[in-house]
Subunit: 294 residues, 2 copies
Amino acid sequence: MELRHLRYFIAVAEELSFSQAARRLNIAQPPLSQQIQDLERETGLKLFDRSRRKIMLTQSGKDFMVDARNVLDSVAQLERKTKLRSEGHLGRLSIGVNMAIISPHFFSSILRRFRQRHPEIDLSLSDYLSVRQLEGLLSGEIDAGFLRLPSQIPDLIDTHLIKRETMRMAVPTGHALARKKNVNWSELKGENFILINPDAARMFYEGLYFKCRMAGFEPKVEQYTNNLSTQLWMVSAGLGIAPLPTTPNILKRGGVTFVSLPADAPVYETVMAWRRGDLSPVLQRFVQFIRRGE
Amino acid sequence: MELRHLRYFIAVAEELSFSQAARRLNIAQPPLSQQIQDLERETGLKLFDRSRRKIMLTQSGKDFMVDARNVLDSVAQLERKTKLRSEGHLGRLSIGVNMAIISPHFFSSILRRFRQRHPEIDLSLSDYLSVRQLEGLLSGEIDAGFLRLPSQIPDLIDTHLIKRETMRMAVPTGHALARKKNVNWSELKGENFILINPDAARMFYEGLYFKCRMAGFEPKVEQYTNNLSTQLWMVSAGLGIAPLPTTPNILKRGGVTFVSLPADAPVYETVMAWRRGDLSPVLQRFVQFIRRGE
DNA sequence: TCTATCTATATTTATTGAGTATGGGATAAC
DNA sequence: GTTATCCCATACTCAATAAATATAGATAGA
């Protein structure tokens, strides 16, 4: 049994006329009669009573129609949902985000508007470190990630730049460097560095290490932390200096002064990332949505 | 989109291998690849990830599978129910019955056993007069009827004999005829006849009228009634005599005596009737069930 | 009775699903 | 590293079958 049989049957059952139904189906009448006969043979049911001029549905035919409609309805639903899926209006999207580096306001605003525009897309969020997100992307765990770009990213990842920041140095307000507007790399020699846990952020310091070595010294690491505010607290407590992006607001607090580094300072790139060549229509929608800055 | 696409897709999705699925489907692998490609083109969805050796379902593919299974399930149900219908195990049957002439015990026993044997057949019953049942059969209102056969029945009706009774005459116990065992037609001359309402039963009296006329007189009708027990009550009250079948039990009451008529007396045939050539499998089952006396 | 209309049958045509042969790419074995 | 194997895709052919055409038979209406 094929859908053709059911579609033809329903047409005849609704028109109660083979020729009329054939016109509606844009086929000739003989093949329609044939197909209905095939259906009757296959089902073993006499579906129509053709004894009079106007054909009638038999009881078997009426019963069969109920179930046939059921099938065609489920097909219609499949096609409807498939269309929505292929257009990216229906589906699910797993998003990773490093909340330590993304402005909550910015992010929630994006999500709110996207969800409003595409209510049929299920969003799931995971707060992951940037490196973890890259793993998650490659493993298929997440479809898109908001993360800070490490110096080198896998070839299989595409990105869209959200924000580009240059590295500044956070120093205790009373510190000698705090009085300068700009510092050279060589002036950092001998300073105690307070860095984010290398597990999470090693690659972000590669540029810094490189510059320091070019300036003739190895950065002396006083302390690792896995937390931005702890890092800043340590700076304000005078335990050392910390390289940080130019992120505003949150980082401004008493006891910490930011000083600029030379023009060749490393940059922090906050991006949205996704698997290169991922054709998921929902992801396409989302990428497009972000790219357009909607 | 055709069922073939869905069946093939499910096979590949379950085997996660085109060649394996092709074996299962008893087709070669290339046409399977083709059909899946057609499906992907038509849906606009990339359903499989063929990048590695073992293919994988994409998220779109997983989503699509849910709805595709839905469709195939509804088709399976259609086929299951269609098979049951064509075998007469599923459906409905509208039965007419003239409860005035059918033993309730006999009838309810039949229905009980049939319903027990075929629990998926919906039975609906209507208590109709015999003539009304014949109309109902021809109009499609009922599919089978238990009725008393009139002298001539439409050509389009098939019957199965349930009971055959000869006509007797019910006379008041004190009546002159009550003393005889047999009466001739001519002895009925001048008697008052109490008959069932001609609307319902005229044809049952045609034989009687014929015999009386052959005997040289016209039956004198004292009273019409539309009810058997009223008819008998009138006889016992001495208002007249009434022709009745040899139905036992119920009709035996005080004040009424039954006397036999000559051998050529009309007969009452109680039958099950249905539309000649009605191929409804459920009806076939029912007719077969009754014929076999099950 | 004739005509119009509708369905069924017979036959031909066209579409398309399936088969065959083959090539490329990835993994596994040597 | 090289070969062998497995699997899917492509190109082309063949076969099945759905659709078209022509026509006959049946039925209702003029």
